[in-house]
Symmetry: C2
Subunit: 373 residues, 2 copies
C-alpha cells in the first residue's frame, strides 16, 4: 500500500464517552480535531473571502467535485494552479466524490456497476461519473483528501436496495484505491448502510479491512430522525479503526455536532452556518437569533458580546437593517459570525476533551441552547 | 458665524494647472486631498465590510440621507449610536442632502419654495424634504459634513427654470445654515446653474459670499457631455474661495477625476467603482477588464501585478469563475479591487501634485487608459 499523505495523531479519548482529541497532519498543514470544515461548493465559501474564512478559525475547507467538474471544469482549475491557488486557500482542502450530488441533484441519475450517468444541472448535458473518473477529477483538482465515490440510496428503501448499494460502495472504494496516482492526496472511504445498524456495521468492517487513511459516515443528514442518526453512529464508530480519522458528512446543527463528537466523530462539514447566515439566522450560545424580527430593530448589542467576528463589531440593529435593505453585507457578516461560532464551538470542545470535561460541556451547551429555543 | 467643524489646509497648487494638494481635518480625522469617497448609500459600501473599505485606502465615506431617512429612519440610526457606530466606519463621513435623489428617483416630486414633496420609493408614502428637515436628518445621523439641500433641474431646461432653481438653491443654502445646531458638523454649499457658465458663476459667487466651510459642484454627471462638464468646472472653480475644499458630486470614471482635479476639484464620490465591480468590470492602469469575457477563463495573472487588494491575490480566471457561478465573492472582490484602484490613483495624484509633475502624470494616465480602450 502507498504511503499516505496524511497522519492522524490521537491525543485523548474521553473517559465517559467516545469523544476524541486528535490532530490530522496534511500536505497543507495541521487540522486540530474535532474540526468543522466550511463548505466552498464552487471554490468559495459563499459570501466570504479566503481571509475571512481563515479569520473565522477554520483550518480546512471542503469543495464539491461535482460542481467544480461541471463549472469551470477540473482542467481549468488545474490550469489556474490547482484548487489551493484557485481558491486562495492555502490550508488543507477536502473534496467530496460527487456521489452525494448524484443522489441529491440527479433526478435522472442512473447507476450501474460501472458508473453513474446523469445530466448536468447547468446545461443538461449527459455526464458519467465512475470511481476512476471521480478520483481522476479530485487528483486534477489537487485536494489534500479525496472521498471515494459511494452509492447513496434514498431512504426509506427496501433492505435489498440498501444492501446492493452498500456492496457496490465497497467495490467502488476498492476501485478508487486502485485508481490512485497522487501520493500527496489521501482517500477516505465512506460507510453506507441506510438506517440499518447491521448493514452499517458490515460496511464499516469491510472498509476497515481495506485500511483506508480515513473513514466517513455517509448517507445521513438526508432527513432522518436525530435518534436514527445517533443510533447509526453508535453502531458504526466502534467498528472503525481507532487510529484513523472519522468524518460525518453533511452534519449539522451545533447540537448535532456535539452528539456526533460524543459518539466518536472527528470531522464535519455542513452548509448550515453559511446558508442560515445568508438568511439572517445567527447561531449563538443562547440559541438562534432571527435578525429579521422587528424586536432587533433598535438593539445596540452585538450577536454575542465576546465574539471576535466582523459582524459582532456591529449592533444587531445594523445587521437587521442590512437584511431589510437587501445589502450583500448582511449575508457576508452573519455568515462570518456563524462560521466563527462553529469554529469557537469546536475550539471549546477540543479544550473540554483535553481537560476531561466534555460531557459537562455538552450538557451546558444543550441546556443553554434549549432554554432559549 | 459658528466655528467650523473642519479645517482645510492647502499645501500646494500646481504651476501648470489648478490641481491642489491639501488636507481636510474633520471631527473623525484627516482626509488627504484630492480624495475619492466610496459610496455607502444605505450605510454600507455595497459588498464590502468596513475593514475592507479601510484596507482599500479610503479615508472618508459618503452615505445617502434620503435612503437612510426612509430605511431604517434617522431615529433608528441615532438610537444605534449615530452613523459612525451604525456603520462601523470610524473615519469621516459625508452625507448628501437628499436633493439629488429627489431629482433622480422622484418622478412624483413637487418642489415649492418651502420644500420638496415626494413619494417614498419603498412604500409610496408621501414625504416632505425642506432645507431645515434635510439638515435635521443629517444632524441626527451625525455625519462630519452635511450637504445643503439644493434644487437640481433636469437638463436641458429653459434658462428661466435653471435660474429659478439656482436662486432657490442659494435661498435654501441660507436656510440650511440658519437651521444648523451641531458644531461638530460642517455644511457644504452646492453650486448649481445647469450648463450655463454665466449661471454657474453667479451661483458660485453668491454662495462664496455666504462663506460656507466647503463648496460642491452639483447637477453634473447627469448625462451631459464631458466637454460641457469640464467647461462648467473651468468657469466655476476660479470663483470659489481658494481656502475652502471643492467637491464634485457624483463623478466619475478615473479619467473624469483627473480632468476635474486639473481644474481645481479636491473631492469626489461615485458608485462607479462598486457598481462596475459588481458587474465584473475592473479598472486597471491598462484600461478596463471585462471579466466575463471567455479570454480570461484560464488567465493566471491577477487584475494588476502590484495591487495589494484581496482580488489581486487571485487569478483573473478565478474571478471570472466566480461571476459565471454567480458567487457573491465575485462582486465582493472586484468592488474591493476597483475601490483600491481609485484610492491608489488618488494617492499617485497627490504625489504627482506634491512633486510638481501632475500634468505629466495626467498625460501618462490618459495615454495608457486610451491605448487599451
Amino acid at each position: 500500500m502507498a504511503p499516505t499523505a496524511i497522519q492522524f495523531q490521537l491525543h485523548t479519548t474521553d473517559h465517559n464517552c467516545r469523544a476524541r482529541r486528535a490532530t490530522l497532519q496534511t500536505p497543507h498543514g495541521p487540522v486540530e480535531l474535532p474540526a468543522f470544515m466550511p463548505v466552498g461548493t464552487q471554490g468559495t465559501v459563499k459570501a466570504l473571502t479566503a481571509a475571512m474564512v481563515r479569520e473565522s478559525g477554520a483550518q480546512m475547507m471542503l469543495c464539491n467535485t461535482y460542481h467544480l467538474a461541471i463549472r469551470p471544469g477540473e482542467d481549468v482549475v488545474a490550469d489556474l494552479g490547482g484548487l489551493h491557488a484557485f481558491t486562495g486557500w492555502d490550508g488543507p482542502i477536502l473534496t467530496d466524490s460527487g456521489g452525494f450530488q448524484l443522489f441529491s441533484l440527479g433526478k435522472s441519475t442512473k447507476v450501474t456497476e460501472e458508473a453513474a450517468v446523469f445530466r448536468s444541472h447547468i446545461d443538461g448535458s449527459l455526464l458519467e461519473l465512475s470511481p476512476e473518473r471521480s478520483i481522476a477529477i479530485q487528483e486534477t483538482l489537487g485536494s489534500d483528501i479525496a472521498m471515494v465515490l459511494d452509492h447513496v440510496v434514498a431512504l426509506p428503501a427496501p433492505d435489498k436496495d440498501v444492501r446492493e448499494a452498500n456492496e457496490r460502495t465497497v467495490r467502488w472504494a476498492v476501485r478508487c484505491r486502485a485508481a490512485q496516482q497522487r501520493t500527496d492526496q489521501a482517500q477516505f472511504a465512506i460507510v453506507q448502510g441506510g438506517l440499518s445498524e447491521r448493514m452499517r456495521i458490515e460496511c464499516a468492517q469491510q472498509l476497515a479491512d481495506l485500511d483506508f487513511p480515513g473513514y466517513a459516515v455517509g448517507g445521513l443528514s438526508v432527513g432522518e430522525d436525530e435518534a436514527d442518526r445517533n443510533r447509526m453512529l453508535d453502531a458504526t464508530c466502534p467498528v472503525l479503526p481507532a487510529d484513523k480519522p472519522r468524518y460525518l458528512m453533511g452534519v449539522g446543527k451545533p447540537h448535532d455536532l456535539l452528539e456526533a463528537i460524543r459518539r466518536g466523530i472527528d470531522m464535519f462539514d455542513c452548509v448550515m452556518p453559511t446558508r442560515n447566515g445568508r438568511n439572517a439566522l445567527a447561531f449563538t450560545d443562547r440559541g438562534t437569533i432571527r435578525l429579521r424580527n422587528l424586536k432587533h430593530q433598535r438593539e445596540t448589542r452585538p450577536l454575542e458580546d465576546e465574539c471576535p467576528c466582523p459582524a459582532c463589531g456591529h449592533s444587531q440593529g445594523y445587521l437587521r437593517h442590512l437584511f431589510q435593505a437587501r445589502e450583500m453585507l448582511g449575508p457576508m457578516l452573519v455568515s462570518a459570525h456563524n462560521l466563527s461560532y462553529y469554529q469557537r464551538l469546536m475550539e471549546r470542545t477540543r479544550q473540554a476533551i483535553e481537560s476531561g470535561r466534555f460531557m459537562e460541556f455538552y450538557a451546558e451547551r444543550i441546556r443553554d441552547w434549549t432554554a432559549n429555543a
